[in-house]
């Protein structure tokens, strides 16, 4: 006897008394938490965006009498703006391609070949992720500007007059942005490259393919989804870069959207409306790219990773060994060692001199820092904003991940969308939106560190949800179900089963957020005041005022302090897990 298996409305189903399983079926506590979480995220994300939309339709600065207008949006069609758009996209494409290539290559070399000191290199590349962009810009200006070290070398030492480098150029900007983003590409591609099922490649080798053929015909195609995804995300990050184009682009008359917005708002005559329209259009661009990336990532779930941390046969490098080592080490030198050395040098000289033998040295920058109340306040604020803010961010992200990936109450797709929206909103744009919103909302957070915390959490929430969510989906549902059948309520199941298993990813998310908050400048630059100065804004304002000595000293001291803090945290939390890694940095 065959039963009908396709029924649109079963007669019995229609006789049901509805059970309030939706929001509160899993308990009132969880239901309330869900509502609160949803509300918080919605407010965080929508308030600045709404402020921007409103601002783009007005013809006066916020708070001043004005009227509604479409001229701001019309202004987008002017030649200047279109040119800036073209420059932004061009720089974005070039640098994201470069960084994705370099980063993927490094990931492959470090994790699939027998290169020496792979663990050290991996740790160094990951470390480079946290170097703020303006430090890279400063270092490379010193190295590559018309009066810089390279030209000095070429002319004074080698006697070459015809060839000059100029950091204040498109190439210069692309180069430094690419350097800055290589670690991102590396970290994104590392997982798929490590997780690849070795049997695909082994089958190819068994069929007679050479190492290079295997790479070309099996490995790369298998990675294509991850690669495309990484490319798109890198593109998004590249077009919202602020500090590098600001320091390196302006002397060369190169403007990108992010710096353009900043100029429109900071310097006269200010055009808030146009800035808002610009910001929104930049956001639409990045949002589109983000949507593209999510579609690719979703397809990729039918992935090549089997989760079998298998015995991957390492590709022997043979005579390519030196090339590969050079390739990887040169990145670390260019992006980490050189800038830090230059940073140290600049911090101890009175005024710039390319020749360390002839420079006038001084410790006054460091002495000033030790005695400066502003600096002390910056450190304290940074601790609050980064240390405490990251904690809040992790809590929020954990809740969001749980609701969107496990519990899935009604409306969870909207929550997921909201939480990820700000990734596509450039920092400067977000800062502008927040400036407006909170200058005028009757909420007394303007000018306090609270608004910075809000800005950073809004901006980087998706980093944390990706980290935590990625782990949550790996925890088999049956582990929670077993807890329920054993008599645990949902809350008890979360507390005793889910959370303990997810803790490493929470720690990883905390570190990630902490460092992201620490190095963030774009969204803070419009919001900080004397009392809410954090390290990044202090350093930035010194840079902006061309007091590189002070900026360098502050950067070095700041970075050392932060690393000590993080290392201490890592030690504290490592003890709790026997043999389990925090997952933060490779090998750590």
């Amino acid at each position: 006897m065959k039963a009908s298996s396709v029924t649109t409305r079963h007669p019995i189903a229609m006789a049901q008394v509805p059970i309030r399983e939706s929001l509160f079926g899993s308990g009132k506590v969880l239901g309330v938490m869900y509502l609160a979480c949803f509300l918080i995220v919605a407010l965080l994300v929508l308030i600045p965006l709404l402020a921007l939309v409103i601002g783009s339709l007005r013809n006066a600065a916020p708070g001043l009498p004005g009227s509604w207008t479409l001229t701001n949006w019309g202004g987008l069609l002017s030649r200047g703006v279109i040119g800036t758009f073209a420059t932004t996209i061009g720089i974005g494409l070039a640098s994201s391609l470069a960084s994705a290539f370099y980063g993927t290559a490094i990931a492959f070399i470090l994790h699939r070949t027998d290169i020496r000191m792979a663990r050290l290199l991996a740790a160094l590349v990951s470390l480079s992720f946290f170097l703020p962009s303006f430090i890279l810009a400063m270092a490379w200006i010193i190295i590559g500007s018309p009066g810089g070290l390279i030209n000095g070398l070429l002319q004074d030492v080698l006697g070459i007059e015809s060839f000059k480098v100029d950091a204040y150029s498109h190439i210069g900007i692309i180069f430094v942005i690419a350097l800055h983003q290589v670690p991102f590409a590396y970290l994104m591609m590392r997982g798929p490259i490590i997780g690849m099922d070795a049997s695909f490649e082994e089958a190819a080798r068994a069929s007679g393919a050479s190492q290079l053929s295997v790479l070309r015909r099996v490995t790369l195609p298998l990675l294509s989804y991850s690669l495309t995804s990484t490319l798109v995300l890198s593109f998004i990050l590249a077009i919202e870069q602020f500090a590098i184009p600001a320091l390196m682009g302006i002397p060369g008359h190169i403007t990108v959207l992010a710096t353009q917005m900043y100029l429109l708002v900071r310097f006269p005559p200010p055009d808030y409306g146009l800035a808002a329209a610009l910001g929104l259009s930049l956001s639409i661009l990045t949002a589109f790219a983000l949507w593209l990336q999510r579609r690719i990532a979703r397809k990729n779930r039918l992935a090549v990773t089997t989760g079998k941390a298998g015995k991957l046969a390492l590709v022997p490098l043979g005579r390519w060994r030196w090339m590969a080592s050079f390739f990887c080490w040169s990145y670390v030198v260019l992006a980490l060692f050189l800038p830090v050395i230059i940073l140290g040098y600049v911090s101890v000289i009175k005024y710039f001199n390319a020749n360390p033998m002839e420079a006038a040295y001084t410790l006054r920058n460091y002495l000033f820092l030790l005695d400066s109340s502003t600096t002390l306040r910056s450190f304290w604020n940074t601790l609050v904003v980064s240390g405490f803010g990251a904690l809040l961010g992790v809590v929020l992200a954990t809740l969001i991940s749980y609701f969107t990936l496990r519990l899935k109450p009604p409306g969870h797709t909207a929550l997921d969308l909201l939480a990820n929206l700000p990734f596509g909103v450039p920092g400067v744009v977000l800062g502008l939106g927040l400036l407006w919103a909170y200058a005028y909302l009757p909420v007394p957070i303007y000018g306090t560190v609270t608004i910075l915390v809000i800005a950073f959490i809004t901006r980087f929430l998706s980093y944390a949800t990706e980290t935590i969510g990625g782990r949550l989906v790996q925890i088999d549902k049956s582990l929670e179900e077993a807890a329920w059948t054993a008599g645990a309520t949902r809350l008890q199941g979360i507390r005793k089963v889910l959370l303990p298993l997810a803790i490493p990813s929470l720690q990883g998310a905390y570190f990630l957020l902490f460092m992201a908050f620490f190095r963030e400048i774009a969204s803070a630059v419009l919001l900080y005041t004397a009392s809410s100065n954090v390290l990044s804004t202090s350093i930035w304002s010194s840079f902006e005022q061309a007091n590189w000595g002070l900026a360098s000293a502050l950067s070095l001291v700041g970075m050392i302090a932060v690393f000590i803090f993080m290392y201490a945290l890592m030690l504290l939390t490592r003890g709790s897990r026997k043999g389990e890694r925090s997952g933060m940095l490779p090998g750590i």
Binding site: I12, Q16, V17, S478, T485, G487
Partner: protein
């Protein structure tokens, strides 16, 4: 009081995955839900556990209604006093064996610590894992993890035991051993159990009753022996054990196969001339003889040709074309493809399926 399920319905999207399933499990009884994947057996089990929200029908555990959509009743999983063993065992990797087993008692909060330790010792003892109480799951083998899951399920003296294909991840030899253990423990504790599997050997050996399911409905229900020897549905016959089917027609006096051979089996029902029925012939009741051997009156013989054979070790499996169909039989004798043989069996080993099978 056992379990009482009536007209259970579960709908996913536009398909009805569980369509009016009803059955009871008496105190101490072991009932298996058997069927191919997608038949709704696991969904039914999860409805009993409360992990799925039933769309219709009622579920009662130990006399208490835990699910009844028409009255708006849905008791949460954690309040149903169950013990459940999952296919993946679901042993928590961050807790020791003892902590895993103690969990159901700790989480309800009602038992003092000393009593919990006592209960854990008892449960581990029953499954034979006393020595491993302080190990971590990552140090245990699959079979040992399975037993931890079992200990955890019974430690709280639940009202009902649920098993979701618990043996499918074990290798064959371990499966046999563990099958016997589960059966023994359940009988000892006399807790009503519902067991889900697609493996008919498990179903036959462990259950008091088997419910055969397909596409969301119950095909047939009965004791293992009855289902095996005298199934009333072709599906059951096919699914449980290896079966050969022979189409037969009643010519008024005797049943005949399609090629006219007479099969002289007792006509235990009123058969109408021209009526068609199917006979079930299990492999193990068939013998294969050379065609020229004289047979005794106790056996019915059907002539056929060997089409295909496979050496299995204890016997050779032969596919023989008889009366237009291919029959599978086992024999120690050696034949080759193309040999003419007689497939013989006793009349009482033939089971005629009912007319509407």
């Amino acid at each position: 009081m056992g379990i009482h399920i009536s007209n259970l319905v579960k709908i996913y999207g536009s398909s009805t995955v569980v369509n009016q399933i009803s059955f009871d499990v008496a105190d101490g009884e072991f009932v298996t839900l058997l069927g191919p994947s997608g038949c709704g057996k696991t969904t039914t089990l999860r409805c009993i556990a409360g992990l799925e929200l039933a769309d219709g029908g009622t579920i009662e555990i130990d006399g208490v209604a835990v699910s009844d959509r028409s009255l708006g009743i849905h008791v949460g999983t954690h309040e149903r006093n169950l013990g459940m063993v999952f296919q993946s065992y679901a042993i928590w990797p961050h807790m020791t064996v003892a902590s895993n087993v103690a969990f159901p008692l700790q989480v309800r909060g009602a038992t003092p610590k000393a009593a919990i330790d006592e209960a854990v010792r008892w449960a581990l003892n029953i499954v034979g894992l006393d020595a491993l109480a302080h190990r971590h799951p990552s140090e245990l083998s699959g079979g040992q993890q399975q037993r931890v899951a079992l200990a955890r399920a019974i430690v709280g003296k639940p009202k009902v035991l649920l098993f979701d294909e618990p043996l499918s991840n074990l290798d064959a030899r371990l499966r046999d051993r563990t099958r016997a253990e589960i059966s023994r423990i359940q009988k000892e504790l006399a807790i009503p159990a519902v067991y889900v599997t697609h493996d008919q050997a498990e179903a036959l050996s462990m259950s008091d009753r088997v419910i055969v399911m397909s596409a969301g409905v119950t095909v047939e229900e009965g004791a293992p022996r009855d289902l095996y020897r005298r199934p009333s549905k072709r599906f059951t016959a096919e699914f449980i054990g290896a079966a050969n089917f022979l189409a037969m027609t009643w010519d008024g006096q005797v049943w005949r196969t399609t090629d006219g051979s007479a099969v002289d089996i007792p006509a235990d029902q009123q058969a109408v001339a021209g009526e068609k029925r199917e006979a079930v012939l299990r492999c193990e009741v068939l013998r294969v003889e050379p065609a020229d051997v004289v047979l005794d009156r106790m056996h019915i013989a059907l002539r056929g040709t060997v089409r295909w054979l496979q050496y299995m070790g204890p016997h050779t499996e032969y596919a023989i074309e008889v009366a237009g169909v291919t029959i599978v039989a086992h024999s120690h004798a050696e034949f080759t493809v193309g040999n003419l043989v007689n497939v013989t069996f006793r009349p009482q080993d033939v089971h005629l399926l009912p007319a509407n099978a």
